[in-house]
Symmetry: C2
Subunit: 240 residues, 2 copies
């Protein structure tokens, strides 16, 4: 539509002038859905809203953004390349095909596990009152850890997200070291915080030597602030 065309025009213009001009950035967003059979799946409550907002904020600063997204109901942001996927393995394959990235911002809530097998036909319930068999699970690929350890092709800046319901900062610091990423954006997704699926977020930005506690902001404002922080980081690097 007209709005998209206007946004795309100015984003294109920014790509020669913005603070993130000529930077290629991948953003992962949304949940993954991990099928048990043709009708059932394991999922999580990520709406994708924070990741989509970050993709837009980076594009607004002139970055060339690819958004790799799991299933969401969100409108595709204008001026951003979209790759849709459903499972963690599809997301991994999509991300691994991207090259020459300056930064990777991994907001997607990738399922840690998936059903060990996907039935080709709908699984039938046994006799009533029979206890169902436990569902065998296997670990999914760890996309953030893989990007962080991708050697000479590693993006200069890798940012992970940590959604926790308790011990948020401690878990997030440990996650940063374990995954090998540069920054972690940590947030509290316990139901009381109303972040998962909601419109606001309250995050802690964790780097190798600092923790910044940001105030509660709309997801758009968190995105803009993160995009500015990323732009500042790139510009401080190129000064030397």
């Amino acid at each position: 539509d007209v709005r998209d065309a206007v946004v795309s025009f100015f984003r294109h213009k920014q790509q020669n002038e913005g603070a993130l001009a000529f930077k290629r950035i991948v953003v992962t967003a949304g949940p993954t859905h991990e099928p048990l059979d043709p009708v059932r799946y394991l999922a999580n409550r990520s709406s994708g809203r924070q990741g989509y907002a970050i993709a837009e904020a980076l594009a607004d600063l002139g970055a060339s953004v690819t958004l790799v997204t799991g299933p969401t109901d969100l409108r595709s942001p204008a001026g951003v390349t979209i790759i849709r996927c459903e499972t963690a393995r599809e997301m991994q394959a999509a991300v691994s095909r991207l090259e020459n990235l300056d930064a990777a911002i991994c907001t997607a809530a990738v399922a840690d596990w998936r059903p060990a097998t996907e039935a080709g036909q709908k699984m039938k319930k046994k006799e009533r009152n029979d206890a169902p068999a436990p569902l065998p699970l296997v670990a999914n690929p760890d996309i953030l850890a893989e990007i962080s350890s991708s050697g000479s092709s590693r993006p200069t800046l890798v940012v992970g997200f940590a959604a926790e319901t308790e011990n948020v900062e401690d878990y997030a610091r440990a996650k940063r070291l374990r995954k090998g990423c540069d920054w972690i954006v940590a947030n509290d997704v316990s139901p009381a915080a109303n972040v998962m699926g909601g419109h606001e977020n309250q995050v802690i930005l964790i780097t190798s030597d600092s923790s910044e506690h940001w105030p509660r902001l709309t997801k758009e404002d968190v995105a803009r602030r993160l995009a500015m922080t990323i732009a500042d980081w790139f510009s401080s690097k190129t000064e030397y």
Copy 2:
């Protein structure tokens, strides 16, 4: 909005004149989401579209409709009472509180199983490469079977839905007998049929003594035809 007000007005008027005037009907719709922890859940691909369309079609014929719905992205139909729920147990509780029903149309894709326990905090992944433990499941309440066997408070007409990916008619006939409902609307939800989440449906209406194969129709047309069939059934009953 204005459209809703107009629709509600005419629905209200129909409630004295329509073919289903003075009939109280519950429609269940949508998937259920069965939580593992605060962020993860088991789900299924039902969009709720067929059930919402049936609720509207019944209301258009003057019925007083209560729509008990799992999580969907659909607009609430005007002139219909809505009860929102998330899990099978919540849906069961909501349905069981309704009394004096003339008919129950159970389109919801209620999860057969749920995780045996719901963790209060987000479940943590173990060391990388550790195989995750199988997920223990338990059977959910069987809402259709419970309504069908509710004795003196049983609705006069109980209609179930059967979504299958193979042997559709056979499975559906067996389901009708097992659940004790009057009719089953059976459909093929294999990915090739593109029904789950899609806009069209092709169904078989199975009663105690017949199988009607309907042509492929929009979900709205399936809904209107089913609503007319229900109205005809009630009117043929009252002739004697």
